[in-house]
């Protein structure tokens, strides 16, 4: 349209076109839109490619089989992440805490065992804990279906300042027996010890 455009004006037009196009545009299409011969277009694009490598540019011009496209420089991904990604918020809810304690003290443990203790399906809690990196698969149980055995991660142990699972106070079978006895006793007394029992568990419920 203009009589004699400067190369700068052509470069600007190419930038505008590629910016708005989003995807890649064939060099031939650019040449015809800008009324340039293909060779000239190619030369300009090559020169532009170099200019985009300058320090103060955040985008770069890339060629993909005779098509050209603008894209974000990978160097700036980190900053971009900080803008587009909402920081995740993780909380150990009561459910997660409960499940985590089971894995911690009974590891290696299958999901079925966890569910048996908790009395409810625990897929969600187990998945979340795995996602959070608190527990992980530590093997498979040699049983039908070869269920996954879960254990706590090293990161988890480290954050408590302990180096191995051995250091966790184990809930031994005897302890479980104790609990059963305790429970039976209470049943016998029907509500006599209720007040004490009622207090203990409540304390943790607000930890979520």
């Amino acid at each position: 349209m203009e009589e004699k455009r400067t190369e700068a004006a052509i470069r600007a037009a190419v930038e505008a076109i590629l910016f708005a196009a989003g995807g890649s545009v064939e060099a031939a299409r650019l040449a015809s839109a800008l009324e340039l011969d293909p060779g000239e277009m190619e030369d300009i694009l090559r020169r532009m490619e170099l200019r985009y490598e300058e320090e103060d540019r955040g985008i770069r011009l890339v060629e993909l089989e005779n098509s050209w496209q603008l894209c974000t420089k990978t160097e700036h991904y980190e900053e971009l992440i900080r803008v587009v990604k909402q920081p995740r918020k993780y909380i150990l809810t009561e459910v997660l805490l409960e499940t985590l304690s089971i894995v911690a003290y009974k590891q290696p443990v299958t999901k079925l065992e966890i569910e048996k203790i908790r009395g409810v399906k625990s897929d969600h809690a187990v998945n979340k804990l795995v996602e959070y990196g608190l527990i992980e698969e530590v093997g498979r149980l040699d049983a039908p279906g070869r269920p996954i055995l879960f254990g706590t991660t090293e990161d988890f142990l480290r954050s408590f300042g302990i180096s191995s699972v051995e250091e966790l106070p184990k809930a031994s079978p005897e302890q479980i027996e104790d609990f059963k006895e305790e429970a039976e006793e209470e049943l016998g007394q029907k509500g006599a010890g209720q007040k004490e029992m009622g207090q203990a568990p409540e304390k943790d419920s607000d930890e979520a």
């Binding site: 505008a16 910016f19 708005a20 989003g22 894209c71 974000t72 990978t74 991904y77 971009l80 992440i81 587009v84 990604k85 920081p87 993780y90 150990l92 809810t93 009561e94 459910v95 805490l97 409960e98 304690s101 089971i102 911690a104 003290y105 203790i117 908790r118 009395g119 409810v120 399906k121 969600h124 809690a125 996602e131 959070y132 990196g133 988890f156 954050s159 408590f160 302990i162 966790l168 106070p169 809930a171 302890q175 609990f179 059963k180 429970a183 039976e184 209470e186 049943l187 209720q194 029992m197 009622g198 207090q199 203990a200 568990p201 409540e202 943790d204 419920s205 607000d206 930890e207 979520a208």
Partner: protein, 273 residues
């Protein structure tokens, strides 16, 4: 002036008035109210009366015009400064303001045409960025959780687990009918929430030796019932997540409290816990 056979449509009475003023080449500050009113009336009489809503707006203006016309015949009122009040003044102000916005609309239109020549971009987040998952900050996640606390949680889990198993075992052969009344549970939930306005469903079940299924179900029904009457709100952030219950302090709640005596049967003893 005759009304054209094919009536132009106007946005509203002000638009029509402006049109009449302009096509009559009238000074807007000195509107010959009789002429304009006549033309205006002629126009609305010729208008298709299909839309009453539109018609009514034109009629309101007609009334205004007639009122001005009448006032023009009377001796002019004067304001505090002794100046005569032109009965047309308000109308003129309105017409000018309306015209101003019409003018601004035209300016906006021009700007839009200009701005339409700029192109924006769709968001194009690189795959690596989109799929990036923030690493877990273990320290933050663990927070103030200690081994002692974890241990306590575990003991509590075990205890409840045993509690759950035993009644079943001991119940073999002699299946007990568990009497749980909804009314009692409602009053229990109310009492608990009054002491602790924010709690969880789980906590409502705590302190109960025997968390029979019926107990859970009836407590849940009690919560639903109280939710329905607006006494509490319930929040669950994710599927299978904790159900949080919050007491709504409404004056209505107090009257109801009296209706349900606090010292009921069975379950109410937990209130002391």
């Amino acid at each position: 002036m005759g009304i054209p056979v094919k009536l132009p449509a106007f946005e509203g009475p002000l638009d029509l008035l402006l049109h009449l003023i302009e096509s009559n080449k009238i000074d807007i500050y000195d509107i010959p109210i009789v002429t304009i009113t006549d033309q205006y009336m002629e126009y609305i009489q010729a208008m298709e009366k299909k839309d009453l809503n539109i018609m009514s707006e034109f009629l309101v203006m007609a009334a205004t015009l007639l009122e001005i016309k009448a006032k023009m015949l009377l001796p002019a009122e004067v304001n505090e400064e002794g100046e005569e009040i032109d009965p047309r003044a308000d109308l003129v102000e309105r017409l000018l303001e309306y015209k101003l916005y019409k003018f601004m609309a035209a300016q906006l239109k021009a700007r839009r045409n200009q701005a339409g020549q700029s192109f924006y971009r769709e968001a194009d987040i690189p795959k690596e960025v989109a799929s990036y998952i923030e690493p877990v900050d273990m320290e933050k996640l663990i927070g103030d959780l200690t081994l002692a606390k974890l241990d306590a949680v575990f003991r509590d889990v075990l205890r409840r687990s045993v509690d759950k198993i035993d009644p079943v075992r001991s119940g073999f052969g002699e299946i007990e009918m568990e009497e749980v009344s909804l009314e009692d549970r409602i009053s229990y939930v109310e009492e608990t929430l009054k002491k602790e306005p924010r709690t969880s469903f789980r906590k409502l079940l705590e302190g109960k030796k025997r968390r029979g299924k019926m107990q859970v179900i009836v407590t849940f029904l009690a919560v639903l019932e109280l939710m329905k009457t607006g006494k509490l709100t319930v929040k669950q952030e994710e599927t299978f997540g904790e159900i949080y219950i919050e007491w709504e302090k409404t004056p209505a709640g107090e009257g109801n409290d009296k209706a349900v005596p606090a010292a009921g049967a069975g379950e109410t003893e937990e209130q002391g816990a």
